[in-house]
């Protein structure tokens, strides 16, 4: 590629971020340090315009749970995953809605196709429950789930749905016979 193409690419990329109101974009390995750094960065930013405590806590909470879901995948050394893919994820924080006062958090990561049915079933279960149903599911999961298996991801997704009061939007994009790209979108709105 010619140099000038890169020049244009950077400008286009910059514009894409502005148009979509993406305020934080990261692609790469998600570790505990990265998670803490983003949490603190986002917190400081929200403090700078005196975001209200309830929204601030919700954004912080959802951000951490989403990043920890990704970092769990980053630790996944399943033989089915191609080297270099399992550690990578994309993480985006953006503004939304009326006067851009709401937030969205988007994540994307590779998942093995064999894990999709279980993940999809959980996401669908969550999306079909109301506030009380989610509370009951959380209570059931926290009592019965074990930390090494269910303690992480399934509590996290239920919790995100509860804290935001929004449905979890998701998609699985086919990559090949083994893997798909999983995208999760959560919104934090002032409802």
């Amino acid at each position: 590629m010619e140099n000038k193409d890169y020049m244009k690419l950077v400008y286009d990329f910059y514009n894409e971020l502005l148009v979509n109101k993406f305020t934080l974009v990261y692609e790469g390995e998600i570790t505990h340090q990265v998670t803490k750094a983003f949490a603190s960065l986002t917190e400081t930013k929200m403090d700078s315009y005196s975001e209200n405590t309830s929204i601030k806590k919700k954004v912080f909470h959802v951000l951490i749970e989403c990043l920890q879901n990704l970092s769990k995948h980053a630790n996944d050394n399943s033989p089915g995953l191609k080297a270099g893919f399992s550690g990578n994820g994309i993480f985006i924080v953006g503004r939304l809605g009326n006067e851009d006062k709401d937030y969205q958090i988007l994540t994307g990561n590779m998942v093995e196709n064999m894990k999709i049915p279980e993940l999809k079933a959980l996401l669908e279960e969550i999306n079909h429950l109301d506030k009380n149903g989610l509370k009951e599911l959380f209570k059931k999961q926290i009592r019965e789930g074990s930390l090494s298996e269910k303690g992480g991801a399934s509590l996290g997704l239920i919790d995100v749905a509860r804290k935001t009061g929004e449905k979890l939007e998701y998609n699985f994009i086919d990559i090949d016979d083994q893997n798909s790209f999983f995208i999760l979108r959560t919104k934090i709105t002032r409802n």
């Binding site: 405590t53 309830s54 909470h61 951490i64 930390l147 303690g151 992480g152 509590l155």
Partner: protein, 124 residues
């Protein structure tokens, strides 16, 4: 039993486990990188305490934030106190939350529904 005092960090809570004063306290933030390893010695302490608890124990939670992995561990800790209570000892849990933080208040209510221990929820 030896008093345990752990100073909190940006991802781990302040913890005081003091059999002498019968007050056990957890405050601050809990999102350790490895929840199990962080809480293991503390759970061991509480399990040991449960073998010969004081007649009266106060457990104080004053947390600003905890992740879902920590929420599971907190339940494990509360379940040990439930046993202490079931064995005829007085246990009182005080759950403090910042008044704007309804989610933290709700979390306290939920724990009080799951475990059978006297629970007082306070906003500040």
């Amino acid at each position: 039993m030896k008093k345990v005092e752990i100073k909190g960090t940006d991802d781990t809570p302040n913890i005081i486990l003091d059999a002498g004063s019968s007050i056990l306290e957890f405050s601050g933030r809990s999102l350790p990188e490895d929840v199990v390893t962080f809480y293991e010695p503390l759970i061991k302490w509480v399990e040991q305490y449960a073998k010969s608890p004081n007649k009266k124990t106060e457990v104080i939670f004053r947390l600003d934030y905890f992740n879902t992995a920590s929420s599971k561990i907190l339940l494990d800790i509360l379940l040990i106190f439930e046993d202490i209570h079931k064995n005829g000892n007085e246990v009182m849990v005080h759950w403090y939350f910042e008044k704007d933080d309804e989610d933290m208040g709700e979390a306290g209510e939920e724990y009080s529904e799951i475990v059978d221990i006297p629970f007082k929820i306070h906003s500040y």
